[in-house]
Assembly symmetry: C2
DNA sequence: TTTTATGCATAAGAAATTTATGTATGTTTG
DNA sequence: CAAACATACATAAATTTCTTATGCATAAAA
């Protein structure tokens, strides 16, 4: 993650969200997908991505499946049951954060 | 900051935004204002707030004015010129972040 | 008189990054 | 054909930003 400043804490939500619609993805693929979906606004660095994936796996949210393609090793990640549940809650959390920030940035003048 | 998980990096933006409409505020006042504006969703802890204020001051974005009220000392902060400029850019950054996250969470299916 | 509110501050530790490397294979390009 | 770029993973050191835990001080409320 670099360039357009990301708020720390959002990376795992991004990963989980992508995996919730793709069934399985590998690390490099995730960096490319994010780059294309955000038109280059967001660039996930490997230094952030791989530790994040390892942590999600260690927490039991992702499971791994190795695969050799074109003589190159790929590590495919997919959501576990627990991961699917956690994804929902992370997305709700993001939603709340966005609404809260909106309320702070554009406060409704109190009536009366 | 505790409770409703905040994305790290947003605190200084919140502080700057509040000061951009209030002329001057002191630390404790900021914690209370945030609590009331977010209906308790966001609670800024002193451990996060004071170091953040000190950093903004050190960076030349805020200036300080001490004042004694009811035998209690208050440290009022206000935006400097540089702080006003930086506020605009921080708000744009937040706006871009929100749009980017929205694009990731609700991607438009590519036409064709 | 103990808790709660007001008001500031710092220090230790944790979490999530950035930046800098390292390894390896395959393709493109000058 | 050598150098650069793309693909693919990984880790380590340093930095940023926060949480948690204290500490000090005044004043009001219970």
């Amino acid at each position: 993650m670099s360039n357009s400043k990301l708020y720390k804490g959002s990376l795992s939500t991004i990963i989980l969200k992508l995996l919730s619609k793709e069934d399985k993805m590998y690390g490099y693929e995730i960096t490319q997908r994010v780059k294309e979906l955000t038109k280059g606004e967001l660039k996930i660095t490997e230094g952030a991505l791989y530790p994040a994936l390892h942590k999600l796996e260690a927490d039991g949210l992702l499971e791994v499946e190795m695969q050799k393609v074109d003589n190159r090793l790929r590590k495919y990640y997919k959501l576990t049951q627990k991961g699917t549940t956690e994804t929902v809650s992370k997305l709700e959390e993001l939603e709340r954060f966005m609404e809260t920030m909106n309320g702070l940035m554009n406060p409704k003048p109190s009536l009366g």
